[in-house]
């Protein structure tokens, strides 16, 4: 993945992720479908959300979305987890818990930043929060939204395991009065 591995502000990353990030990242993006394509266990962690993101994540397991049909499962233990969903802006008081959770996960692992707070949209970097999750952990997939709807979360999870391609890079988010510039809203 191209997301840089930061020298985490206040976090110590002692795993092999920081040993040779480029090589591992390449390997991960090549193999993510083979490793995680059919079964993947998700651990969630809240670093200062408003509780709306948690509510949407809980609904992923509800009958309308039923993420088990796609081979995803929630796990209560980080040691069984392949993917970490992080909500909230990275409150500094959660640093030790976040580090412990992340380092307890076996390699290879995927970090998904969930919601506008986690992407740096709501809180600035200050004494309370890091302001965004990619300032403390190497983030593999970003899911915008406040909160992201369960459909957006499903899309993000499927992008994370390489079962859907991300399309937002090709979207210009512009249009003109005479007609759509490059892409129209769907």
């Amino acid at each position: 993945m191209t997301s840089p591995v930061h020298g985490p502000a206040g976090l110590s990353t002692t795993s092999s992720h920081s040993a040779d990030p480029e090589r591992l990242a390449d390997e991960l993006s090549r193999n993510v479908q083979r490793w995680f394509g059919r079964s993947l266990h998700i651990r969630t962690i809240d670093t200062g959300s408003c509780a709306a993101c948690e509510s949407e994540i809980r609904l992923l397991g509800a009958p309308h979305y039923d993420l088990h049909r796609l081979g995803f499962f929630f796990t209560p233990a980080p040691r069984h987890a392949d993917l970490l969903m992080v909500t909230g802006p990275g409150v500094r008081a959660m640093d030790p818990a976040l580090t412990k959770t992340w380092t307890a996960m076996p390699e290879p692992k995927v970090v998904v930043a969930v919601g506008a707070c986690a992407l740096g949209g709501v809180y600035p970097t200050d004494a309370f929060t890091h302001g965004a999750i990619d300032k403390v952990l190497p983030v593999d997939v970003y899911i915008p939204g406040c909160p992201p709807s369960p459909i957006a979360l499903l899309h993000g999870l499927l992008v994370a395991v390489g079962r859907l391609v991300d399309r937002v890079g090709a979207q210009p988010f512009t249009t003109t009065t005479t007609g759509p510039a490059a892409a129209s809203p769907c």
Binding site: M1, T2, S3, S29, P63, H64, Y65, D66, R69, A116, L119, G120, G121, V122, D134, V139, D140, V141, Y142, I143, P144, G145, C146, P148, S149, I151, A152, L154, H155, G156, L158, V159, A160, R163, L164, D166, R167, V168, G169, Q171, P172, F173, T174, T175, T176, T177, T178, A181, P185, C186
Partner: protein
């Protein structure tokens, strides 16, 4: 217990078929980040948009509006201020592996006052 079983049978399947099918029709009611109408954007409008954006997802650099879709909460304040220069994009599948893909540069083309 048999009542629960019967209820389950009667209720049928509600599960979405996404991702095999496009997102369900109800998702059209979800808030989405704006698209900008470039020929309606002038500098004054752009500055008004930057000022009203609560999460600072917008900033202006010369004749470009730098727009961070990742920071956008789709609160809709810009749609009110923009007077037609911003419309909902309708995009909900926004997840990406590259953070920089979420940062858009929007040309401010409606410079004529």
């Amino acid at each position: 217990m048999s009542l629960w079983f019967l209820r389950g049978l009667r209720r049928g399947v509600v599960t979405t078929r996404y991702p095999k099918t496009p997102p369900d029709p109800w998702t059209a009611t979800l808030p989405t980040p704006p698209s900008f109408v470039t020929d309606r954007l002038d500098i004054a409008t752009a500055d008004a948009l930057v000022a009203v954006c609560p999460p600072a997802a917008l900033r202006r650099e010369g004749l470009e509006l730098v727009y961070d879709v990742g920071a956008c909460t789709a609160c809709g304040r810009c749609l009110v201020v923009a007077d037609g220069a911003a419309v909902p994009s309708g995009q909900i599948e926004l997840a990406t592996q590259r953070r920089e893909d979420l940062v858009k540069r929007v040309a401010i083309e409606g410079g004529v006052q």
